[in-house]
């Protein structure tokens, strides 16, 4: 069993860059990169990327993410910066006390290159890059569609858009995480499960690397989980912080993919789990499910880490890195 310490991205902006950015009006300057950012803003985010990649390398993470510190609209970002999207109202980001500007899709979702540019820049700073993108269902769920004829066409278009964004960086990533919280918080109707699974497929196939569908804030329903297992992904992700019993039940009853991603660290609480706590949780999961061997276990926080102050974010990365330094011994 290959243990790989990683995260699901969505990092807090390092303190130095936050201090510089807070004084700047949001996307108020001359745009130089197509995403409405000024040169000063781009410089801030470039420095932040460099900083968070160094922090991950120092913490000993096995996979390194770009960090998405530019994603001011959190998982909705890839649409927020698209030319055929207009900014809607500020709305609540899931069941959190966080908010984002709802992207309103008013034209065709052709390729924008935004994601590829960030991942390309990150690829020059690390040789173990993991891409993190919203799952197509969640990205569609976070947006408002005023262009495509119906939900079916919209989900397809979002999936195709994400696949297009990833295709050009396929060779430079070790794996790709699709963050799909909406699968749990606002699940698709039963008759849409197959389409959702196919949309995941479309994105996963764009990259010539293992794909992981990661959920949080509960566990997917049983039928939806079964459909996700039909998708062409190498791992499903489970939130063992908020729903350890539901998640293990799913794996006991239905099995899972060849690999698994386990959210073992609370991305929304400043209490820092030490490495041994993470290992205990991992041991508990292994002993609770009948699967004897996973190809890879991705050891992660359950959510993005932008909910935390920078000091706690960094401490959690170190715990994750330490937790996977040696193999997990079986206790039975």
């Amino acid at each position: 069993m290959d243990l790989r310490a990683t995260t699901v991205g969505l990092f807090p902006l390092p303190d130095e860059q936050r201090a510089r950015l807070v004084g700047m009006d949001r996307r108020g300057g001359e745009s130089e990169n197509g995403a409405g950012e000024s040169g000063d803003e781009t410089a801030v985010f470039d420095a932040a990327r460099k900083g968070v990649i160094a922090v991950q390398e120092d913490a000993g993470l096995d996979l390194v993410v770009e960090g998405q510190t530019r994603w001011e609209d959190v998982l909705a970002h890839p649409l927020s910066v698209h030319e055929n999207v207009s900014p809607g109202g500020v709305v609540r980001y899931y069941d959190n006390n966080n908010f984002y500007r709802e992207p309103v899709v008013v034209g065709e979702l052709g390729p924008s290159g935004d994601l590829a540019a960030d991942l390309g820049a990150a690829g020059e700073l690390t040789d173990r890059l993991q891409a993190v993108v919203p799952g197509p269902y969640s990205l569609a769920d976070l947006a408002r569609n005023e262009y495509y004829v119906d939900d079916v066409a919209f989900l397809d278009a979002v999936a195709e858009f994400l696949a297009g964004e990833l295709a050009s960086v396929s060779a430079s990533v070790e794996c790709v995480f699709l963050l799909d919280p909406s699968l749990v918080t606002n699940p698709p109707d039963d008759d849409a499960h197959e389409r959702v699974s196919e949309a995941v497929d479309a994105v996963a196939r764009a990259v010539d690397a293992p794909a992981v569908v990661h959920t949080c804030w509960g566990a997917p329903g049983e039928k939806l989980h079964a459909h996700l297992l039909d998708a062409d992904v190498s791992a499903l992700g489970y939130d063992l912080v908020s729903a350890h019993e539901e998640a293990t039940y799913l794996v006991q009853e239905y099995g899972t993919a060849e690999s698994v991603s386990l959210g073992l660290v609370d991305g929304q609480n400043t209490l820092v789990e030490d490495a041994e706590t993470i290992r205990e949780r991992l041991r508990w999961f292994r002993e609770s499910v009948p699967v004897s061997e996973f190809e890879t276990v991705y050891v992660t926080p359950n959510t993005g880490l932008f909910y935390l102050p920078v000091s706690r974010f960094e401490a959690k990365l170190r715990s994750l890195g330490d937790a996977t330094e040696r193999p997990i011994e079986a206790t039975r």
């Binding site: 303190d15 936050r18 807070v22 700047m24 949001r26 966080n98 500007r101 935390l308 102050p309 000091s311």
Partner: protein, 359 residues
């Protein structure tokens, strides 16, 4: 429950009817107070703690009197001492710690605190704030306090098994603060629970918190609960069991006819109705406000209606905030006079509303 209300009728109140007017809490800070804070934070500036304290008291005096000048029956000091509604209290409650700012949205950050040890009560939180405002005011002063449920929801919880356990512990601590305030003379206490708006399913947790915190305050102490932006239908009828005198809602910017929730004859509390929008810089006319007041009167009788802005006003320009308060008072006094003269029949308004609801 209106026993605790009549004490707030000013001696020179011009009308027989009395629609109690007040503000929710925060008010725009004068630009010079912000400058004073910057100077205080600057090590090179010759501006010490005493200088900042003096500037802050000046601002409290100014805003308290500005509220009186607007004609409010019950005033507040505009929360000049507070920067943020959770951090202010977390700084005063043992058990809390600050690990750094976190993002709320875009480029907006907040110092979200962590509860790292069991919480307890140490120094009073607001006694000084209340005593100073009361000393400069000629009208009664209301005290607004962030509620235990919101303090718990908007903090990191490292110390308690569940968020509800943390909220109950904070409610026990709040009880001591309320006792302190009542001892200092406060007779109108408002508990702010904005977090409940996002999670109405937790109404029972809030109910238990209120029982612990204000369940046995003296009868002459008026207790209000302020919940902004909610889908109030999801809290009704459970709020009827809360140990409060007044339920304070944000309906000025509401187009959804939520007022109907409170038209239920079994609605047990006074209704504090937001009749000017705290988030819009447009000053509502007296005529517009009066039409909202009539909506309020279609739900509860005049002696159970309180009027004010629908939330704290701190994000507005100060002249706009003032103009809104002044118009609320003018509208209230005009409606009272029309009620006195029988030009408005409050009973008929409620009966009409009840008939429409039945249909």
């Amino acid at each position: 429950m209106t026993d605790a209300r009549e004490q707030f009728r000013p001696a020179d109140h011009p009308n027989e009817h009395f629609l109690l007017t007040t503000a929710v809490g925060s008010y725009p800070k004068p630009a010079w107070l912000t400058r004073a804070r910057e100077l205080h934070a600057d090590d090179d500036a010759d501006f010490d703690d005493a200088d900042l304290a003096e500037a802050t008291e000046d601002a409290c005096r100014l805003v308290t009197r500005e509220h009186e000048r607007a004609g409010l029956d019950v005033v507040v000091d505009g929360e000049m001492r507070r920067q943020e509604m959770v951090a202010f209290f977390a700084e005063r409650i043992p058990g809390y710690e600050f690990a750094g700012p976190v993002k709320v949205w875009g480029r907006n950050y907040v110092d979200k605190p962590s509860v790292v040890d069991p919480v307890s009560y140490d120094e009073p939180w607001l006694r000084e704030e209340y005593a100073f405002a009361a000393s400069v005011a000629t009208r009664p002063v209301k005290v607004a306090i962030t509620g235990p449920y919101t303090l718990a929801s908007w903090s990191f919880n490292e110390a308690y098994d569940t968020e509800a356990d943390l909220a109950y512990a904070l409610a026990d601590v709040l009880r001591e603060e309320v006792e302190t305030l009542v001892e200092a003379g406060a007779r109108y206490v408002q508990i702010d629970e904005p977090a409940l708006a996002a999670t109405p399913a937790d109404h029972a947790v809030v109910g238990e918190c209120l029982e612990r915190a204000v369940g046995d305050v003296p009868a002459d102490v008026r207790v209000a609960l302020h919940v902004c932006y909610g889908d109030y239908a999801q809290l009704y009828p459970e709020i009827n069991d809360y140990p409060i005198d007044e339920f304070d809602v944000e309906l000025a910017s509401d187009e959804g006819g939520q007022i109907d929730v409170f038209a239920d004859p079994d609605f047990a509390h006074d209704l504090a109705l937001g009749v000017v929008d705290a988030h819009s810089p447009r000053v509502e006319s007296v005529a517009e406000i009066k039409s909202d007041v009539l909506e309020g009167l279609s739900a509860v009788p005049p002696d159970r209606l309180t009027l004010g802005p629908d939330c704290g006003l701190k994000l507005l320009p100060r002249d706009v905030a003032y103009a809104k308060l002044e118009n609320v008072v003018t509208a209230a006094r005009e409606v009272e006079a029309e009620l006195d003269r029988g030009e408005i029949d409050a009973t008929a308004l409620r009966e009409d509303a009840a008939r429409t609801l039945d249909d």
